[in-house]
């Protein structure tokens, strides 16, 4: 690394190992959060003006009035298809338009009819469709209650914390004074001298005398510090629009567990925030982030899930500005004994969780997803923001990354190292040093002089590469990308109208305005093979630093008063990274003429980012706690739609002990995105550098991953089709078992594999909770059978990765591990049939070409495998689909079986044949030798 960079790091990022909290705002240091949090519950000034209610087939509108300042709001209420209620609140007549987040919803959500059930002067009751669900609008103070039968599911503004800072003129400035004193004169002049005065505006004003009258009655609102200008450290945020925050509270009766609102380095179950800062959602490049706190990180998905044994619901707060989320609970702090005492005494109030969302600008636009099951919430959310993109199969393999692989020679020797040590891998990655002076889309002319030669070398081994393309663009008149962006006016502007410039890896850099569709189209076109020199079809992309990271900006990000056309950066900050990845993925699709699926990794994200690729948990550290936190961090992302999640294996900062590295490989092998990465300053840590014993342990972990690729791929296909998460908390599958509600040291892949990785240093054993009182679980390594609903102690050695297959499931694997996933394309399958206590099992087999969009044209094989009454059969789930495979079934392993006398295979053409088998009585494992049928065919296997 050049000394310059060292200097930069030292200057910009501080020299200590822990996060420098002083670089980031607390709620108290963020003026709107402080203002909003100071509001007391129970004093709502808002009243619903029922006489303004309009109910059409698709929506209800109603005005709200703030009795303190007489400012009116417009409430819109929609019933959306799939048991979702949308509540939108904006100013009735804002001084100028307020930002409504575009592009995140995949379409205008289809509505369902609302009907009026009853109405009086206190409120109205609307029916939310067939399931006896109603919404009650109370007028004074305004509140909404969503009911099912007699049960309140969720209440809005029940604590009276609805707050909507209306846009206003600045009163303490010269211009305001001029405006207010000369306004009438000006009006007069306008009338006299202009025949083209805006008749619309006048008409409106005249038509609404009430509004004028009210406006005059408005209490002089207190001007507080930070309303019109705010300074943090040396950065001043000019706030030309003044205060504009919005806030609303939600009460969740009967709920003690809430989840989601990533990204935070915290437990899966969200904590109450009464005694500290709220959870913060503001995409930031946090250097050496700290664990178990509510500080903001690289991405933000404003979606929270609430769960109890009866129901799961969700709240999607569609706002892209800086957001804080407060959580409180009436049972928090009560001990188990205290709760029991309440129960025994019968004096207990219902447990309740209260949540409050506060955003700096924009409007209130909230989607209430009413479940009732976890999977319903997932599909409800997917119907709004889309599902996980279906990744190329190869991207589910192992990724080898480092900042940096120094040159082509280095890439070649690392690639050869994998062959020499017989460890499979699919992608090798290049970080920023591969570029010509941090000019993305270019290559260092000395170190990467012939990139195509390098890529061809990888292609010859059916492997791929990812090169980084960050959104900060070096300001350099000799750099084509910069010149084009500048000449097209695509850069984000500073508050004074010039191109915004910040400091990042290349030095002074501009930031393209990815919120513009013309900018995104242009960016996408830069990935064309004739534009991106040295690129080939096996080169994919990594978007880092897209929070955006600005080394010399406030909180290491962009000034909030920077401008995206008419909008302030403040309004849309959290979507910047979302747009960067969107444009990049579009580029990779376009370069192949729409044929190939893209693979793009992003660090920053927002709701909807799942549509564009993978996410990783950013710059973690080589510490055991960081290994542990990778589980809840990825689980939380999965809950809000982003399934393709992983953490840097080994830890980015610092150097892992060999034990930690091995354990991290073992954990990462069972997480969706499996990539090792390391900081420039750390010693090399390719898998073979720690002695043959550890090389073997890492090889084995990676091989386990590759054998399971068919299952992973199938899970991603499901996630893409349905929005169900791939990596799941246990409670998602066992929603009625409270013992699962806080588990975040183990997880499920799909519903059939339970993983409890070893994440403790020097562990001699782990205790895994096996859920489901009717379930049985099979250790995938020993095939030992265990009953569900128990805490199972598992002694472990360095080679142990405790993984269990659910009885009742069938999992396809490819046991012939080769040097990359592409090399395994035609290899045969082994089916692992784990019988449940009813001696039944079900599973699926999904096969397509692994890399194109042709699956959308029904070019795939999708089969249901089921075992019942001693017959295993393969049924076509997609009879219209067309695809052929060379892959065949080489082996069927039935766990929990008894010994048959003979086994008959009946092929599609009716031909019958005997299948040889082996039976291991000690573990009740029946292995069918080489049944040999094609994986896409109909067949049955009968045990007699």
């Amino acid at each position: 690394m050049a000394p310059v960079v060292v200097l930069w790091l030292a200057m910009c990022l501080g020299g200590t190992w822990a996060v420098d909290k002083g670089n980031f705002k607390t709620c108290d240091q963020s003026a709107f959060c402080k203002r909003q949090r100071a509001l007391k519950p129970g004093e709502s000034p808002y009243r619903a003006l029922l006489e303004t209610m309009e109910l059409t087939n698709t929506r209800l509108t109603l005005q709200l009035i703030n009795d303190n300042n007489k400012v009116r709001l417009l409430l819109e209420l929609y019933r959306l298809q799939g048991n979702i209620t949308r509540v939108k609140i904006n100013e009735l007549k804002p001084l100028k338009p307020r930002y409504e987040v575009p592009d995140v919803l995949i379409r205008e959500p289809p509505t369902e009819p609302l009907s009026l059930l009853s109405q009086d002067e206190n409120g109205v009751v609307l029916s939310l469709g067939a399931e006896s669900q109603r919404v009650i609008v109370s007028a004074r103070p305004f509140r909404l209650d969503i009911m099912e039968g007699r049960e309140v599911l969720m209440s809005l503004n029940s604590r009276g914390l609805l707050a909507f800072e209306h846009l206003r003129m600045r009163k303490d400035t010269f211009s305001y004074k001029v405006t207010s004193t000369v306004a009438s004169v000006w009006d007069y002049i306008k009338r006299v001298f202009t025949s083209q005065a805006d008749p619309e505006a006048e008409k409106k004003e005249e038509a609404d005398p009430a509004n004028q009258a009210e406006a005059e009655n408005v209490d002089e609102e207190k001007v507080e510090d930070g309303m019109w200008e705010e300074t943090f450290k040396s950065h001043t945020d000019s706030k030309p629009n003044g205060p504009s925050a919005v806030s609303l509270d939600f009460s969740l009766p009967g709920v003690e567990h809430v989840y989601g609102i990533p990204e935070h380095a915290d437990t899966l179950r969200l904590k109450t925030t009464d005694n500290g800062d709220p959870y913060r959602l503001y995409n930031l490049d946090v250097f050496q982030y700290e664990l178990y706190n509510p500080m903001a990180l690289y991405g933000a998905v404003p979606v929270m899930l609430a769960h109890n044994t009866q129901r799961t619901t969700g709240i999607f707060w569609l706002n892209a500005a800086e957001t804080w989320v407060d959580i409180s609970s009436n049972t928090a702090g009560k001990t188990v004994f205290g709760k029991m005492l309440d129960y025994v005494q019968g004096s207990s109030e219902t447990p309740q969780t209260d949540v409050r969302w506060i955003s700096e600008s924009g409007i209130i636009d909230v989607f209430i997803m009413l479940g009732p099951k976890p999977k319903d919430v997932f599909s409800q959310y997917a119907s709004l923001t889309g599902t996980q993109s279906f990744p190329p199969l190869t991207s589910l393999g192992y990724h080898q990354c480092r900042w940096n692989y120094n040159d082509q020679e280095d890439v070649k020797s690392v690639d050869a190292g994998f062959d020499e040590h017989d460890i499979p891998y699919d992608f090798i990655w290049l970080d920023i040093e591969h570029t010509d002076g941090k000019r993305y889309f270019t290559w260092d002319t000395h170190k990467f002089a012939t990139p195509k030669e390098m890529l061809q070398g990888l292609m010859d081994k059916k492997r791929k590469m990812v090169a980084i393309v960050d959104p900060h663009i070096k300001v350099d008149s000799n750099y084509k990308i910069h010149n084009e962006i500048r000449s097209r006016g695509f850069y984000i502007k500073n508050k004074d109208g010039g191109d915004y410039e910040g400091w990042c890896w290349p030095g002074s850099a501009g930031y393209p305005d990815f919120t513009r569709i013309d900018m995104r189209d242009w960016w996408a076109s830069m990935f064309a093979y004739d534009q991106y020199e040295g690129s080939m079809e096996n080169l994919y992309t990594w978007n880092d630093m897209n929070e955006p990271s600005v080394f010399n900006g406030p909180e290491v990000t962009m000034h909030k008063d920077a401008m995206h056309g008419a909008w302030e950066h403040r309004d849309l900050h959290n979507t910047y990274g979302f747009y960067v990845q969107m444009a990049t993925a579009e580029g990779l699709i376009k370069r192949s003429g729409g044929v190939e699926r893209p693979f793009v990794l992003t660090r920053a994200f927002f709701a909807g980012s799942q549509r564009y690729g993978a996410v990783w948990t950013g710059d973690n550290a080589a510490e055991w706690d960081h290994l542990k936190i990778s589980i809840p961090m990825c689980l939380s992302l999965g809950l809000v739609g982003i399934s393709f999640c992983g953490a840097d294996v080994g830890g980015f900062f610092k150097s892992p002990s060999t034990e930690l590295l091995v354990r991290w490989y073992q954990t990462g092998a069972y997480q969706p995105f499996f990539r090792a990465h390391a900081h420039l300053d750390t010693p090399r840590r390719e898998p073979w550098l720690f002695g043959p014993e550890n090389t073997a342990l890492i090889r084995e972990a990676v091989r386990q991953r590759y054998t399971l690729l068919p299952y992973w791929y199938q899970q991603f296909y499901q996630a893409h089709r349905t929005g169900q998460p791939v990596m799941r908390p246990l409670w998602v599958e066992y929603p009625q078992d409270p013992a699962t509600f806080t588990l975040d040291d183990e997880f499920l892949i799909g519903k059939d594999l339970l993983v409890h990785p070893v994440t403790e240093e020097g562990a001699r054993g782990v205790t895994a909770y096996l859920p489901g009182k009717d379930e049985v679980w099979f250790d995938v390594h020993t095939f030992q059978r265990h009953n569900g609903a128990q805490n199972l102690y598992i002694p472990v050695t360095m080679s142990s990765i405790p993984v269990f297959q659910r009885g009742g499931s069938i999992i396809p694997r490819k046991l012939r591990v080769r040097r990359s996933s592409t090399c395994m394309e035609h290899d045969p399958y082994t089916l692992f049939v784990a019988l449940n206590s009813q001696r039944k099992a079900e599973g699926e087999l999904y096969i397509d070409d692994g890399h194109t969009f042709n699956y959308e044209k029904e070019e795939f094989i999708h089969r249901r495998l089921s075992f019942a009454n001693n017959i295993l059969s393969s049924l076509n789930l997609a009879p219209d689909a067309k695809f052929t495979t060379q892959s065949w079934i080489e082996r069927i392993v039935i766990l929990g079986a008894s010994k048959p006398s003979k086994i008959t295979l009946k092929a599609a053409d009716g031909q019958e044949s005997q299948v040889e088998f082996e039976f291991d009585a000690s573990m009740s494992v029946l292995t069918l030798r080489k049944p040999g049928m094609n994986s896409g065919a109909d067949w049955t296997v009968t045990l007699q």
């Binding site: 120094n406 010859d460 059916k462 300053d681 012939r816 090399c823």
Partner: protein, 469 residues
């Protein structure tokens, strides 16, 4: 399998290699089985896994299903996760590849036998590879031969040098003893002179002033000694023009670069100066000189004020002697150190001592001074960075002299101290051929020297061992 060839000369063997592809008869055996294992695979007879874990009918050998735990029943298919496939590679070197590479669409064996059913269009490249290998082996043999000859010369030279140095050390130690005696004598004289020192108070004061000047002088002398040692990079007891050039601050005219001519002027017109001549040079450069190390050791022998001229004179003499003495001590130490270095089994690496070898890359000039230090200097200005000082021989047990390790260089930000691994390979010249930084602040240098060359015959046998025809 290979022993019988050991007596052969290299060239005939290589020629036979070339013709092997033509003359050898393909022996019938299951796909992927090596000649040496052929005996275990008998057509038509039950096959016992090589680990004896099972016995299976012969038609299950290479039937694309894994029956043996050790993978030995499927040498020619990818069915076993742990199998290996034998490539005959006629015309080149035979080898084993993991059976997972069979029919994976990638050509691994140069004879293309691993891709018999994948549709991969492989070319038989064995002959070409064999030819190249032969050429390169011939070249290596030639280099090894010449290198080994040079090595013998180095060994002889080293033997002579060692004897000389031992003698020199002896001489120095004698001189040193002599000097020590002189210092002791002077000290006695001084102490005697100090005895009557009960004079008036003002004389004391004046003496105090004088003494301070003396202390300054003494410090200056001491610093001079240190600077000399600092400048004398190669420790040969002389400061040379080149060594002076590394201190650009000494440039007399700050306008342009520090030329050799200017350095020579500073040295009084000669190419190098010894310790005695250096005293004159020191006065010219001491104002400008920037030390490489910041701490300056001081002589703090003098505690009490001196009071008369005699003792002043004595002190001066004493000081000079002291400084000379310390020079000798250093040479003495250097020589002792040099003699004590591990210069290889026959001191063949001794010739590298006090030498430096440079390699210029696009950005930096790298400098390897064996048994001393490795450094890096930006090509276009900037200060030198220490990439490590001599640590140890660090090759594998059977070839410990193949790797040098230099450690404890300049620290990296948030990282380790810089260190350099120097890999030695046999060659006719002594030259640094490449440097890299595979891991942050861990450098790798490739260094060629005849001193590492082995007797050519061992190379030949190496080649034989990798043959199986």
């Amino acid at each position: 399998m290979s022993c019988q060839y050991h007596q052969h000369l290299l060239l005939p063997l290589l020629l036979s290699l070339l013709t092997a592809g033509v003359s050898s008869v393909e022996v019938q055996r299951p796909r992927g089985v090596s000649l040496s294992n052929r005996q275990f695979y008998e057509e038509g007879k039950p096959f016992t896994c090589l680990d004896n874990s099972a016995t299976i009918p012969f038609d299950r050998v290479n039937d694309d299903y894994c029956d043996c735990k050790d993978g030995s029943d499927e040498p020619g298919t990818a069915a076993c996760p742990n199998g290996s496939f034998y490539c005959t590679n006629a015309g080149f070197r035979s080898s084993f590849i993991p059976s997972s590479r069979i029919n994976d669409g990638i050509c691994d064996c140069c004879d293309t036998t691993d891709e018999y059913n994948s549709g991969a269009a492989c070319q038989n490249t064995c002959r070409e590879l064999g030819r190249k290998e032969m050429e390169s082996l011939e070249k290596m043999a030639e280099i090894a031969k010449e290198g080994y000859r040079l090595k013998q010369l180095l060994i002889q030279e080293a033997k002579r040098g060692l004897e000389e140095k031992k003698k020199k050390l002896q001489d120095i130690q004698v001189t040193k003893k002599d000097l020590e005696d002189k210092v002791e004598a002077l000290r006695t004289v001084k102490e005697t002179a100090e005895q009557p020192e009960k004079e008036a108070k003002e004389r004391h004061l004046k003496a105090w002033e004088d003494q301070k000047a003396l202390i300054r002088m003494e410090k200056d002398m001491a610093r001079m000694a240190e600077v000399f040692l600092e400048l004398d990079d190669d420790g040969d007891g002389f400061v040379s023009v080149a060594e002076l050039l590394s201190h650009s601050e000494l440039n007399p005219d700050s306008d342009d670069s520090f030329t050799e001519a200017e350095a020579q002027v500073l040295l009084g017109g000669v190419d190098k100066v010894d310790t005695v001549t250096f005293e004159a040079v020191w006065n010219n450069i001491k104002e400008k000189y920037i030390s490489e190390v910041t701490t300056v050791k001081t002589f703090s022998r003098l505690q009490e004020p001196f009071s008369d001229n005699d003792s002043e004179q004595l002190l001066q003499d004493n000081c000079k002697l002291y400084v000379r003495e310390s020079f000798f001590t250093v040479f003495d130490i250097n020589l002792e150190k040099e003699i004590s270095f591990d210069f290889g089994p026959n001191s063949e690496f001794a010739y590298l001592y006090s030498q430096c070898y440079e390699l210029t890359t696009s950005e930096y000039i790298y400098r390897l001074c064996p048994f001393n230090r490795v450094s890096q200097k930006p090509k276009y200005g900037g200060s030198e960075t220490n990439l490590g000082t001599w640590g140890k021989w660090a090759g594998p047990e059977d070839n410990i002299y193949s790797v040098m390790k230099y450690e404890h260089g300049t620290g990296c930000w948030q990282g380790p101290n810089r260190s350099t691994t120097v890999k030695l390979t046999c060659g006719k010249e002594t030259v640094v051929t490449s440097t890299s930084e595979p891991s942050r602040c861990e450098y790798l240098m490739e260094f060629i020297s005849p001193a590492i060359c082995q007797e050519p015959s061992s190379l030949e046998s190496y080649f034989h061992e990798h043959q199986e025809l």
